[in-house]
Symmetry: C2
Subunit: 192 residues, 2 copies
Amino acid sequence: MSGPSGVGKTSIIHSMLDRLGAAFSVSATTRPQSDKERHGVDYFFISKDEFQRWVDAGRFLEYAQVFGRNWYGTPRDAVEEQLGQGKVVVLDIDVQGAAQVKRSMPDAFFIFILPPSDAELLRRLRDRGRDDADSIERRHAEARKEIGFAHESGVYDAFVVNDDLARATNEVESLVRARIASGPASIASRRR
Amino acid sequence: MSGPSGVGKTSIIHSMLDRLGAAFSVSATTRPQSDKERHGVDYFFISKDEFQRWVDAGRFLEYAQVFGRNWYGTPRDAVEEQLGQGKVVVLDIDVQGAAQVKRSMPDAFFIFILPPSDAELLRRLRDRGRDDADSIERRHAEARKEIGFAHESGVYDAFVVNDDLARATNEVESLVRARIASGPASIASRRR
């Protein structure tokens, strides 16, 4: 699942974990751990050297540098283990990462959460009260760029607009259930 | 429901009518009737004068001129009557028309069907064998423009990629059912 900061993606993911009994893929990151965050639950907090060793060992399903500073990656082992147990695994991932995952897992289901409008996205970023004006401006610019990339990427199976959180959550849940029920893609569609 | 020519929208709509017991909104048009088409089933085929009288009488929920020649419109009466009977009513409509419908029916559910890629869209337009090279080129250019408009319009609640028809149909059905189950938007989301 992808979507810009402030779009409500985290809330939707939490509902998915509850409703679908899904597993959340915990990412590894080189960014500092905040007081509220727990190692192994919110992220695996590792050093840049450690991160590089994981890259070299092919331990990431995808990884990327965000805002040109910190590294984030999805450890491959945990995802494959939980898929092997028949679980739905949810990744909170950016467009660049989703494109990487699609290369190794073309049958994964890719959903992008959209804000109802650009003005509403800016309002939500401000309302979070979490960032200063510069950060809000940077996040807003990043969000616009990410939405453009998402549309052009050809990665996503569906885009859901979060105008109303309860509705958007129901829509995402129903899409995931429909995909599970549909099974793998028919052979005719694999010619691409 | 909207989507460019060749994206498989008509197939998805037919499945929706079957699966949801939905009613199809029959459009009025000034374009010539083909041999295969039936008046009142595929379209209401009316003259330009008649069309103008319907416009003046406010009988259209939306109307537009397509490719600068023919007029198409959604008669308001039939839609409101079927909604009044508790039916789901499906409109096959372009972005311009969807934006008009949204103004009078903000709680309608707007889905846009996307091709998996631009190359695949062009391939499907060619494979239909219905148009000459010029028409294909024009439809392809129109499709690209319409997809761009759709993303920027802020009209759509969801975008579903038709990579695999069976999957996309299941996804659209599940979205409509989720929206029906969700009921009207919560008050918090109506501040826009």
